[in-house]
């Protein structure tokens, strides 16, 4: 382990690792520096400049997200020059698009909104000019409203550096710059895999969940952490619940392994089945060749009667059970216990091989 170095932030002497950035050192010591484009586990690009701080002897303000600490560095995060710059930058971003919180899905969970509030900006000094892009609603999973895009590039980095799907990139340049798939096509016409990493990464309302629209405000949603039901990776995810329904699925990067917050299209967008009307709601019993609804008691009775009879007549090994790779450990345990201890056979298997 490398030796710690000492630096001063806002008059406080703190220690830091030499490979840390000013931002990391500040955060570790509970000193708040606002950020927008910074996104953990991706390159620090220093694009938004919201995180600027004053460093003694530096020619200009420096972006704390990509400036490494050095011994004896003296940093101020709260000077007038810093605040003026942050205010100007946020005003410029605000005025550059259609940041209308009334109809924005991100209201209450928007990093730009938080910045405006934190800086106490009443209104921008520049006329508000939305670029006027058409809102992309051509698929049922992700809505893109580039009029709300602040060009922080988090979606691009999420796509290229976290999921490495390499579908998103910047195009054009200067104030015409845009993010999106090649040829400025919409997601559905592109090679997008709909992992939804960009939705989780977007700090504003530019990329949002289509099916969650009007499904609940951020403060109404309850997040329940669970394990994905699809493949064997076992991704940790948050089911976002409102009024007993799953509204959307979000990743959570605090959960760590195995997926560090990343999901795929199935974990993210294929949970509709839970609330599907075709779900079985009551036991069914075959009567006169037709499956008809029954009570649990009737179903249990029928099963116990029939299986007991078969066991009686043909022995326990004439009964077989399929456990399930879809069910929990506890359920599989009970199932094999049931087959072995109750029925008395080792004829228990599941689709591990299929």
């Amino acid at each position: 382990m490398e030796e710690k170095i000492r630096i001063t932030i806002d008059g406080r002497e703190v220690t830091a690792n030499p490979e840390q950035t000013i931002l990391e050192a500040a955060r570790e010591n509970g000193i708040f520096i606002p950020t927008l484009c910074q996104y953990a586990d991706t390159t620090n690009v220093g694009a938004c400049r919201v995180c600027v701080v004053e460093v003694e002897k530096a020619r200009t303000l420096v972006a704390s997200c990509c400036m490494p600490v050095s011994a004896g560095m003296v940093v101020r995060t709260d000077t007038k020059a810093v605040r003026d710059a942050q205010r100007m930058i946020v005003e410029l971003l605000w005025a550059s698009g259609d940041h209308n919180c009334l109809v924005c899905e991100k209201n209450g969970n928007c990093e730009l909104q938080d910045l405006v509030y934190w800086l106490g900006i009443e209104k921008p000094r520049f006329p508000i000019e939305s670029p006027g892009y058409e809102i992309e609603k051509t698929n049922s999973m992700i809505v893109r409203d580039l009029n709300k895009c602040v060009l922080c590039g988090r979606c691009v980095r999420a796509c290229n550096e976290i999921q490495v799907n390499e579908v998103l990139d910047f195009s054009l340049r200067g104030s015409r710059a845009k993010v999106g798939p090649a040829f400025d096509s919409d997601y559905i016409a592109s090679e997008c895999y709909f992992c939804g990493e960009c939705v989780d990464a977007c700090p504003v309302g530019a990329i949002t969940f289509a099916q969650a629209r009007f499904g609940g405000r951020p403060w109404e949603l309850e997040k329940v952490r669970t394990t994905c039901t699809y493949c064997g990776v076992g991704c940790q995810l948050d089911l976002n619940i409102n009024k007993g329904k799953i509204v959307k699925v979000t990743g959570n990067r605090d959960y760590g392994p195995p997926n560090q917050g990343s999901l795929c299209i199935k974990g993210r967008f294929a949970m509709d089945f839970v609330q599907h009307p075709d779900r079985l709601q009551r036991p069914l019993i075959r009567k006169n060749g037709e499956l008809t609804e029954a009570t649990w008691e009737e179903a249990y009775d029928l099963i116990a009667r029939n299986l007991s009879a078969i066991k009686e007549e043909h022995g326990p090994d004439s009964i077989a059970g399929f456990a399930s790779a879809r069910c929990t450990n506890e359920e599989n345990y009970l199932f094999q216990k049931f087959m072995r201890a109750v029925i008395g056979t080792n004829n228990v298997d599941h689709c591990a091989r299929l």
Binding site: N44, V45, G46, A47, C48, R49, V50, V52, T60, L61, A63, C66, M67, P68, A81, D84, A85, M88, I89, L92, L93, A95, S96, R125, F126, V150, L151, G153, D169, F170, L172, R173, G174, S175, R176, A177
Partner: protein, 503 residues
Amino acid sequence: MEEPMIGSIPTMQEIPFFAHQKLRVLRNRGIIDPGKIEEYIARDGYLGLAKALTEMTPAEIIKEVTASGLRGRGGAGFPTGLKWQFCSQSKGDVKYVLCNADEGDPGAFMDRSVLEADPHAVLEGMVIAARAIGAHYGYIYCRAEYPLAIHQLNIAIAQARECGLLGKDILGTGFDFDLEIYQGAGAFVCGEETALMTSIEGKRGMPRPRPPFPAVAGLWGKPSVLNNVETFASVAQIVLKGAAWYASVGTEKSKGTKVFALTGDVNNVGLVEVPMGTTLRTIVYEIGGGIPGGKKFKAAQLGGPSGGCIPAEHLDASVDYEKVAELGAIMGSGGLIVMNEDKCIVDIARFFIDFCQDESCGKCTPCREGTKRMLQILTGITEGKGREGDIELLQEMAVIIKNSSLCGLGQTAPNPILSTIRYFRDEYEAHIREGRCPAGVCTALKRYTVDAEKCTGCGVCAKVCPTKAAKGEKKQPHEIDQATCIKCGVCMEKCKFEAIFVN
């Protein structure tokens, strides 16, 4: 034998344009055929390299260059020797020498001229730099708009390779270095060093934050030295003739000579090389031969879109890094545009900020959005829509954009605005408060009026006016209705009595 008429022809030294110049970087201009390496060699070419490779250690080369006081001629003026030293200290077996020939400043063509006329001088400087830092490969990043320069470079590189001055075992010393030309694809921001490297890597030429500095992690993450054409073209002579020779001209902190592209409202448009510290007046009036048509000098723009204007009151200022910066401009790569009294300073500021916002890569907020808004405000002012407070807002924005942008483009983009406000605030105020463009440039603010004393009432203006704004009784002085006038200027053009004027 004395030529009968030759006396009437001045010698080169008698012509002020040439007399005040001191040729070092341009010493071979007009003399050698750039396509013939032997002509370069005949002018002591590659002797500096030979000396560097056979008589000097890398540390000695760096020491010599440092002692010469040579500073980067690309704009910022960072000491070249120091840059090389940082890179030489970086660990790594792969390092790069990069030549910035992406001369993007509008109104600058120093590098093009050097590459076209004396490409070997650049190659020689690069090999010396490579030896100093321990690099074995290099790139010349040249803008595609310079086909002739690229052509000459290609010839020069091929010849140098053939002669063993590039490639393996240069001059039989065992040192290897080769390079290739990388053609820029049209993005001004690629003149910024990290953007240039990103571009060579085949990506969008967007600048990266520093640190890490290129000397530590540059092209493909390897230690790299980037200098511009003029800097490299100075190196061989420093090595050959020594630091003291180089430092013998110039000012205390700005040594040697500087090449300027002298353009605009000046009689002798061209490429000039003068000792650091020459006054602006000498450059404009002696070398440049003054302003055509007896017009007044208004300002000189130094340093292109990153630079600033220097007004007439500072004509006697010494042109060196420190003084120029003090006056609110930058030395830049050497574009020097002279403007006469007919130029509107707000329009010029608008031109430069338009350039910067058009060339902004779009990565960082202050540059992307800030330059756009500054352009919007300036355009408003030139269109008569300026408001009280605009100047102050521009100044505040300028300071913040300079202070908080990611790269040199954004950090200098507001310079023209700051310097023009500094020297010509009254002209801004005239636009905003009086709706008047003192130079008569801003179309929307033009007022065509009839001088009743000169007007004979011939009626030509009324006849040619496309909107019937010019009208009047026959034989009576005419008038121009400002509400319907579209400021096309036809009336003034056609008036035989010069009775219509514009303010």
